[in-house]
Symmetry: C2
Subunit: 338 residues, 2 copies
């Protein structure tokens, strides 16, 4: 073995050593990125920094695990909400399915418009009309009967524009965020304007959020014994609308502690974000801004669905984190990732 050969061997050994250190390290780091669908940048950094802050024992911003409560709006924050809330698509499908039992609907708005597929007229019926649709299709059965109907629908119904199942239109970056928070001791909640019973049938499977961590709008139920068997019957009476100032009220009723992190996308989430950030210690507020007309939808201040106006001003004034979907998200839908 001459000197050169010996040097070569040493060189190759060193090179191999460097190679292993560098690329094995890099691969490990990539594998460990808990938010792979988020582009590097200030948004991702803000999320990671907050999670590190509150979970570093002995740090000045440490929060005990029991107090790591994170609340998420659903429509427009965890899944899409265009061209109209997905639960409205469910209600319209139910109107069609139940129409044979309701001959009066042929003459009665907004049922008539729904049966004719006239979405413009349905939406023009306003809040009162939409409530009529919900009451006509979500009440009058037991909780189990309703849950089965939703399960059947969510397993088969498809979005009119994308042709995908609705649960394939949940946001992959938000799924990663939910898992990341839970891996760091957070308890993740949904607090949505959508129906609590509607959501509970599918969110555990899709988001990993159990029924007891779902807060939403609700109708009243009635306890009855039917042939000695207890049932809860859904009544056509509003119990609670979980929107705007209703969100902190329902968070207080259901959770009883103030969240330290809140995630929303519209003015309906403003009070929840204010309530969350109004507490002492480390707090985090994030707004999903729909800026990607190509991969999803682009809308904010002038949209009738998911209007983001005051909350966007508030985010800027208060330094809340704003997700620019187009810039911050490598991919949008969980369906894309499969």
């Amino acid at each position: 073995m001459n000197f050169i050969s010996s040097m070569n061997r040493a060189f190759y050994a060193l090179f191999a050593f460097w190679f292993v250190l560098t690329f094995a390290g890099l691969t490990a780091a990539q594998a460990e990125d808990p938010l792979p669908s988020w582009n590097e940048g200030s948004t991702k950094r803000a999320i990671v920094q907050f999670v590190k802050d509150v979970s570093t024992q002995g740090g000045s911003k440490f929060v005990p695990p029991a107090e790591r409560i994170a609340v998420f709006d659903n429509d427009g924050t965890l899944w899409s909400e265009q061209p109209f809330y997905f639960q409205l698509a469910f209600a319209l499908d139910r109107v069609r399915a139940l129409a044979p039992k309701h001959p009066e609907w042929k003459q009665k708005q907004p049922f008539k418009a729904a049966l004719e597929g006239n979405m413009k007229a349905v939406l023009a019926s306003g809040k009162h009309g939409l409530l009529e649709l919900v009451m006509g299709t979500h009440a009058g059965m037991t909780r189990e009967e309703f849950a089965n109907t939703v399960r059947d629908w969510i397993a088969t119904a498809k979005h009119p524009k994308t042709g995908r199942r609705y649960t394939e239109m949940v946001y992959q970056p938000m799924l990663e965020l939910l898992a990341y928070l839970r891996a760091n001791g957070f308890k993740t909640y949904i607090t949505s304007g959508g129906g609590i019973a509607f959501m509970r049938t599918w969110v555990e499977k899709v988001y990993g959020i159990p029924p007891e961590q779902v807060i939403g709008s609700s109708i009243k139920t009635k306890f009855e014994l039917r042939g000695g068997k207890p049932v809860l019957v859904r009544l056509p009476i509003i119990n609670f609308i979980n929107d705007k100032a209703g969100k902190p009220i329902a968070i207080n009723l259901h959770i009883g502690r103030r969240p330290i992190a809140a995630f929303g996308n519209s003015d309906g989430d403003l009070q929840m974000l204010q309530w969350t950030t109004g507490g002492k210690g480390a707090r985090f507020a994030l707004i999903v801004h729909h800026t990607d007309a190509k991969r999803e939808w682009a809308y904010d201040r002038k949209s009738s669905v998911g209007r983001l106006d005051k909350a966007l001003d508030s985010a800027r004034a208060n330094g809340w984190t704003v997700v620019d979907m187009k810039r911050d998200w490598k991919l949008i839908f969980a369906g894309d990732a499969r």
Copy 2:
């Protein structure tokens, strides 16, 4: 060494071996008893059998941990409720503390009776009178102000008969039962007629039950910005009375799944017990029957507080487990055990 001596040694060695096996084993078994304050008998056996059944993987009655939901009434089930609900004692103390700001109370029932310490007249004012007392003392402040008032009271107030702090009048056997269920994968909830905000200030420390697992009666709250700071103000308007048929309704709203085990002590718990046992698979219903006039109180069918009449009949008809406090509990209060 002769033969006898050798036999003696062998005998002593065997004896020592048997002694270690027997008594060390016994001591270990005793140390492992999760319910040491429960006397051996059919009640304790029924509890242990149910827990084994639902937590034995592969067994015919196995229940996945996520579905192991257990709900507990509070007054009369986890702590005493005589001579009247402890929260009423709080309300009466608040009437005295707030009286200087309410000169009109001197002329107004039931406040007048409360200020004069005339409990007979207070109780005679009925449901409406008691609601007046609650509204006059539990509303008109933020959630934080109310929580602080309860915390101060629960740390210092003493029961008129026992002279103990109220939290020393929680039942030691029930504390062991809560811990035993949790050690076997159960999520334990309180579902009480008592105030949700009242209970949440102390039950985590005393029962190990976090605020988000407390369901109770509530008044409405209002979200407000005060000088830019968000607050939730408690209003003198009933939101929900968590009693009788209200219990399964609230369980459905807050938890969204049917419990597999329910624990109560009065007719106010009947519908909760029916709802829980009405589901499929392994179910457990238990009633605490107050039979110990010496160590606690003895009352059932004719008591105005915590009446147990229809639920006792139902327990017998349906084979629910009934705790005979006098017979089944080695000791009553957590205060006794310290």
